[in-house]
Amino acid sequence: MVNTTYTKSQIIDLLAGIPDPEIPVVSIQEMGMLRDVVITEEGYDIIITPTYTGCPAMGRIEQDILGMMEQHDIAPAKVTLTLDPAWSTDWMSDEAREKLRKYGIAPPLHSSCNKARFGDNVIHCPICNSEHTSMVSRFGSTACKSLYRCNSCLESFEYFKCH
């Protein structure tokens, strides 16, 4: 029996606070991974989308969502993975970008995925805001980031790739 006392927006508000397992400073909603909540007679269906096809955080996110639903006694609940439309960093809110920057990760450039070789994008250092930065490694600790170095303050930092 579905507890219908919860509306879609209440469920979204509840789940909006779940942090991204790899970058806990932003939530799954701010990242654009929480797509929808569908309430039917069979229960609550939480629709999420992966960032990268091989993103290993998806299993953890599903557990976190189901855990949160159980904690609030909202049942039955299930999580459905959707691929369409494909996740994009363009969905990331300005607030989320600012949170990333304060956390030390340079946020993705808006809608400007660079396909050129030997990339010529200017990535600002999240610490001193200098534009004199250089790429150290195209790939980083997670699928969504690459590694940079600031030539002004000499700190190394991560850049959230455009996707």
Binding site: P50, Y52, T53, G54, P56, L83, C113, A116, F139, G140
Partner: protein, 252 residues
């Protein structure tokens, strides 16, 4: 052949290509010449694993036999694999890996860009994700091909010798079967004959910049579509499927 059978074969071929590439790339884990490349090669392998999982899972769904992505990966024999031969060749050195990945990722950029408008919704959705990752792989590997080709005498020699071997396997990327014709008429598959010209132009531009020479001999070894593989795939599967063959019901 029914439409479902053709679609199943198509998904298996795309999924197997991702899986086999993933395996070869992950063999570099802890063996790459520099730390950054260790990260790059394993990150690319992870993208490929994700892609293989989606495609093989979908293949199982299309066939309706209830097989999971794991069943498809670990419980099929060599002759049931439909990947391109170029992906299964063992890595001779770093230059070989980079030249191979550049050739294949460039092809995949065009392939998945075309599949984004597939009439099959699931293929289109997977393609929309895969194309972004393939572009990143192409950018990274073509940079390396240029660095190596236009680098030292030794790096040029290695990149050229890799290209000489790999070139005769690129024809397999464009190999088609009757199933392809059926899917093409339904607007589900990508027309590889149209991709070929664009692919070749891109490759030639990269090779020119890399000071590498296209081999004069244009003999092409094909067979992957029929499940006829090189001796290397069997060895790879022996290792990859060992656990599942030894402990058939093993789960995490």
């Amino acid at each position: 052949m029914t439409k479902e059978q053709a679609l199943y074969n198509y998904c298996v071929r795309l999924g197997d290509n991702a899986l086999v590439q993933s395996y070869r790339l992950s063999e570099w884990c802890s063996n790459a010449p520099i730390l950054e490349e260790d990260l790059a090669l394993t990150n690319m392998a992870l993208d490929m694993t994700g892609r293989a999982q989606l495609l093989l899972q979908y293949a199982g769904k299309v066939a309706g036999h209830g097989k999971t992505a794991d069943d498809m990966a670990y419980r099929r024999a060599e002759r049931e694999y439909r990947n391109d031969l170029i992906s299964e060749l063992p890595d001779a050195d770093f230059a070989f890996t980079m030249v191979r990945q550049m050739l294949v990722s460039t092809f995949e950029c065009f392939l998945y860009a075309a599949l984004v408008s597939s009439s099959d919704k699931e293929i289109a959705a997977i393609a929309a994700k895969a194309v972004k990752e393939a572009r990143y792989h192409m950018a990274h590997t073509s940079e390396w091909v240029i660095r190596l080709g236009d680098g030292t005498e030794e790096s040029n020699r290695r990149a050229q010798s890799a290209l000489n071997i790999l070139w005769s396997y690129t024809g397999g990327l464009f190999e088609t079967t009757d199933a392809d014709a059926l899917l093409l008429s339904e607007g589900m598959a990508a027309d590889v004959s149209q991709i070929k010209t664009k692919w070749q132009e891109n490759i030639e531009a990269i090779l020119r910049e890399a000071k590498l020479i296209l081999p004069a001999d244009d003999y092409q070894q094909t067979g992957g579509r029929q499940g006829l593989h090189t001796e290397y795939l069997g060895h790879m599967l022996t290792e990859m499927q060992y656990l599942h063959r030894t402990y058939p019901e093993a789960i995490w």
